[in-house]
Structure formats: structure tokens, C-alpha cells
Symmetry: C2
Subunit: 335 residues, 2 copies
């Protein structure tokens, strides 16, 4: 497992390059829920997601440890590819991102804008094989999306920072879980700064491999990418490095698609931020937890809003039904 | 006309109550356009729009000048009603907002959440009559949405602040124009701090009464509320107080509905902010202006992002067509 020292070292490395994102709150939301929710706004991070942190730390660690480094490579159809492309460009390091041809062209364009090469292949298997082959070459190094110590330490800096931005004891901390990099770093940062706070992960019900892994004590795998609005949490399984952390969590919540759209609308509306479903779904996990508790005393909660990269098709799906007619409540029911 | 001293006095009054909103920029957008665009982010203002500034100033001026004040009233189906309700609640002053029954229920709910009474009437004419009748009562004072000196001075504080947040000379400043309160205040603030910068207003083509007023030198009126995504700029005419300022502008641009949706998508995507069409349409005005100029030297521009209050139906319309496939350019053509 990583330690708080790993996160602190990562923070020192990435601080000159990343955005110091705000922690915000909505007085109307707090009033409706009867609890106090603080949001760490990582959709305002470089590349629009916390992934910039892990990518930036990993590229720098590689440069320190591998003096012969010529290129970094990543396989990603999403935010991690952008993060590696951006981080490599900071240090004038060539980068190549391998992605499936069916991935979003907006994301491919963003990766090119950061100066990286995009290698598009027709299947995910072909992508994974190609990046493995590329990383065989001398001086070429692969940066994995989550199952990597320096990536996990980098992601942990989001909560490390958030807990310095708030000067009161928290009852609970929530973050989404895809491959587990963010929630692993969040756990270590929280245990250090706020040992009394519970740490929970949230995952789409349609792809609840991590929750089943957590409950069974063994890594579970999905056969196929789940159909979910939460495209940042579609990974087929967690890794053994992230799972070591995940097993220490205080609980896990799975979220249906309707509440995911509901909370994306409401967080966009209340916070005036372009929050993606992978981030907003966490609020349904928060409500599930609150429903199992007495309504008093009021709980103080920190939520990581992980990112804000949303393609047009997903925006259409999010706003298909008008959820703003129904004011948030802890005990909101779903059909 | 108002003076810079009016704006400075308004700023002193409202400073303890409003949000000091950031000025942001997108390096990717600047790269694509070849110019430098700075955004004053008033969608992160109280009540989600710059209107909080004018409402907060007007309520305080009334309290100073009318010691017998018992209630403030406003007629609005949108952000101004929220602003007056919020500002009145700050000073424990009762407020009533008269609105048509067909107005957004989300906005009516927000007004109630700020503690104001909502009076819903079936037609706009009935609403206007009822607020006029109410304001006849002793101690009841009407706060107009734009044609009012203390409202205009309050709206001017957005640009007054923005020009303190940027330490370089600007070539141009842009803001949307509905009834003209924001653009009037913006003009006075800019002439004071950056006399060399040109000041432009932007309006939906579907309701271009203000542009026709500007060009003809006489206030023009629309017969009916225009059908446009820019619901913050649907006023039937400017007022004589705002028109006195509008006549001093350096130019006016009208925007079609397609580019309005285009720029709303792109600003939400690039800035990760929940920007409303009335704000985002300004970027089409910026591009119209840039198209008429040599591409060098690069221009420095400030844009007021006026608000972020969008109902679900409008979000559906904004995202109906995928505009993210087409990267921004100054000379982007529209069918």
C-alpha cells in the first residue's frame, strides 16, 4: 500500500503544474438534505479531471528513475490518455496514446492538442496488445491508468488538498470507483488527516465488480464493458494494487442509472459546474448512507467531483427526463 | 447616465454579500481562435447570475432612502426575481415576486427558497398590472429589472471587478444585452478603467430590438417575446435609462440560434461551467467582430458570462445536435 509520505511527495512534484481546485458547497442543497456536503471540484483540474494528478506524478517519477526515457505510452479511451499526453508535454517528452477507433473523437482531438500521437486500433484487445508491444522498446515506458503506485499517490493528492481546505472534522468522505486509483489515494489521505472519518466508494450498479470484489474479498471481473452513464467507472476489474486499499474501505455503494442522471442535473444546476455522471452519482451513494442513519446530528461529508468531460450523446441522455421538478431529499425514492 | 462613482458606491455596498467571481481563460480556445479571451464568471455569482449585483444594490439604496420601507416587489419570470428575493432576505425585508404561471417552476421554487412570496398570474399583462398596483401601497417599493439607476450601477460592478482582476490592456469588452442593465454598467466601468477598449453588445437575432434601437437612434419594441434559447435576452424593449448608455456603445452583434447552441456546448465543455445560452452567444458576437479584422495582432477580449440558470427543456435543446465535432474557429460558417 502507498503511504501518506508517497502522497506528500507526489503533491510536491505536481504542485507547480496542476490547478489548486476549490472546495465548494451549496447552501440550498445542505438545507434540503439536512446535512453539510463539501465538494472538491476536480472537474476544474487540468484536462478536466483528477487524472491530471496521477499522470503528472507518474511522468515525473519515470523521469527521475529512468534517465534513458524517450517516450511514454498509455492505453485509454478517456481522461487518463489526456492526462498522460498533457503531463508528457509539460516535460517535452514524446507520448503516444493507444485508443480504440470507437472512442470519442473529442477526446482523441484533445490528446492531439496536447501534442501526443494517437494510435487508433479497431478493438480494445488490439489496443492493449499494441501498447504492451510498444513498451518493450528501449526507453519507452507504459503508464497504467490505475494499478500503479505513482498513479495512486498522485490521485491521493486531491483529497490531501481538500482536507487542508476544510478546518472542521468530517464524518465521511466519498469518491467514485472505476479501477480504484482515486478511492485508494483518497483512503490513505483521509486516514492520515481525519482518522475518525469513514471512507466510502461509489460505483455504477451496471458495473459493480469493485463492490463485489470488496464484499467477497476477491477481485471480480466483468466480461464486458457495462452500459452506464458513468463512463469513468467502466473498468472491467480493479487491480491488485488498488484492491489492497479497497479492502480497507468502510463501505461501498452501487448506483442505478436514473439517480445518476438525477444528480448530474442537480449538481450542474446548483453548483453551476459541468459535472460528469461518474462524479455526480456519488451523491446517490451519500443518500444511501444517510438513509441508514438517524437524521440528527447533521453529518459533514466531503465528495470528490472527479471530472467534467462529457460528450454530446451523454449530455442528451442526462437531460432526457426533467429531474429538476423533484427537489433533492435524502429519502428520494426510485421506481 | 450613471458614473463610475455610482458603480464604486454600489460595489462598496454589495461587496460583503456577493461572490467575488473569478476571471478564467481556456488555453485551447485561445490557441484555436488565435486571440486571448477572458471570461468573468458570473454564473458562479449568488443566485447563479450577475442580477444578484443589481438586486443587492437596489435593495440597499431603497433602505437608505426610504426609511418607511415594508416590502419590495418585482415582476420577473427569471433571474431578476431570484435576485430581489435573495437580496431582500439578506436584510430581513419581505419580498413578493409576481410571475406568469407559465414561468419555470424551478425558478419559482428558488424564489420561495429565498423566503419571498410568489404571486402567479396567468398573463404577463396581469403580472405587470398587479405589481404596479402593489407598489401603490405605502412602504411597498418596486425594483425594476433594468431601467433603474441603482440596478444599472449594481450590474456595472461585474466589469468593474473584472478589470481589476486583469493587469493588461484590453482591445474589446463584450456582454449580452436584454433590457440593457448589464451592458450599460459594463460600458461605464470599461470607459473608466480601459478607455482604449471598445465595448460591444450581443443580442439574439430573433429579438434584435436593442440592436435596431442602437442603429436607428430610437427605442424599438418587439410585439411578442421572441423564440430563442437566450431566455435572459427576451425583453420587448430597452428602457430610456439603459438606451442613454447603449447609444454610446462601439457596436452591436445579433446571433442566430445555431451558433448560440454551438457556443453553449463548447463553453460548458472547455470551461467546465454550466453556462447559459444568453452568456455563451456572446462568443459568436466576438467571432463576428474578429472576422472583420486582420488576424494579427492577437486581440485581448473580456466577455461577461452572465449566468448559469438553465431549465431541463433548454438543456435538451442545447445538446440536441453534437456541435463538439467541430472545433472552434473565428471563421466558422453557419448554414
Amino acid at each position: 500500500m502507498i503511504t501518506i509520505q508517497d502522497i506528500q511527495a507526489a503533491h510536491q512534484r505536481i504542485l507547480p503544474h496542476i490547478n489548486h481546485t476549490p472546495v465548494v458547497t451549496s447552501s440550498r442543497l445542505n438545507h434540503w438534505l439536512g446535512h453539510e456536503i463539501h465538494f472538491k471540484v476536480e472537474c476544474l483540474q487540468k484536462v478536466g479531471a483528477f487524472k491530471a494528478r496521477g499522470g503528472c506524478n507518474a511522468v515525473q517519477v519515470l523521469r527521475e528513475q529512468q534517465p534513458n526515457i524517450r517516450q511514454v505510452v498509455a492505453n485509454s479511451s478517456g481522461n487518463h490518455g489526456q492526462a498522460v499526453a498533457w503531463a508528457a508535454s509539460l516535460f517535452g517528452l514524446p507520448a503516444a496514446v493507444y485508443m480504440p477507433t470507437f472512442a470519442s473523437q473529442v477526446k482523441a482531438q484533445a490528446i492531439r492538442d496536447y501534442g501526443a500521437e494517437v494510435v487508433a486500433l479497431s478493438t480494445r484487445q488490439a489496443v492493449d496488445q499494441a501498447v504492451a508491444d510498444a513498451a518493450q522498446a528501449d526507453g519507452v515506458h507504459w503508464i497504467p491508468p490505475f494499478n500503479d503506485w505513482s498513479v495512486i499517490a498522485g490521485q491521493g493528492t486531491a483529497m490531501y488538498e481538500a482536507l487542508q481546505q476544510i478546518d472542521q472534522p468530517l464524518d465521511a468522505v466519498f469518491a467514485p470507483c472505476g479501477g480504484g486509483g482515486l478511492i485508494s489515494g483518497t483512503l490513505v489521505a483521509t486516514r492520515h488527516a481525519q482518522a475518525r472519518a469513514q471512507v466510502f466508494a461509489v460505483e455504477p450498479k451496471a458495473g459493480d465488480d469493485a463492490m463485489r470484489s470488496y464484499l467477497s474479498g476477491q477481485i471480480q471481473h466483468l466480461d464486458d464493458a457495462p452500459k452506464t452513464l458513468a463512463d469513468g467507472a467502466m473498468t472491467l476489474s480493479v487491480g491488485e494494487k488498488t484492491f489492497a486499499h479497497i479492502q480497507q474501505l468502510d463501505g461501498f455503494f452501487a448506483v442505478e442509472e436514473s439517480p445518476m442522471a438525477y444528480w448530474t442535473q442537480w449538481l450542474q444546476h446548483l453548483l453551476k459546474l459541468h459535472v460528469e455522471p461518474t462524479s455526480a452519482m456519488v451523491m446517490d451513494g451519500v443518500c444511501q448512507w444517510l438513509r441508514g442513519r438517524p437524521s440528527k446530528p447533521s453529518q459533514k461529508i466531503m465528495v470528490v467531483l472527479s471530472g467534467g468531460n462529457i460528450d454530446a450523446k451523454t449530455m442528451q441522455k442526462i437531460w432526457q427526463t426533467d429531474h429538476l421538478v423533484q427537489t433533492p431529499r435524502v429519502d428520494l425514492g426510485w421506481p
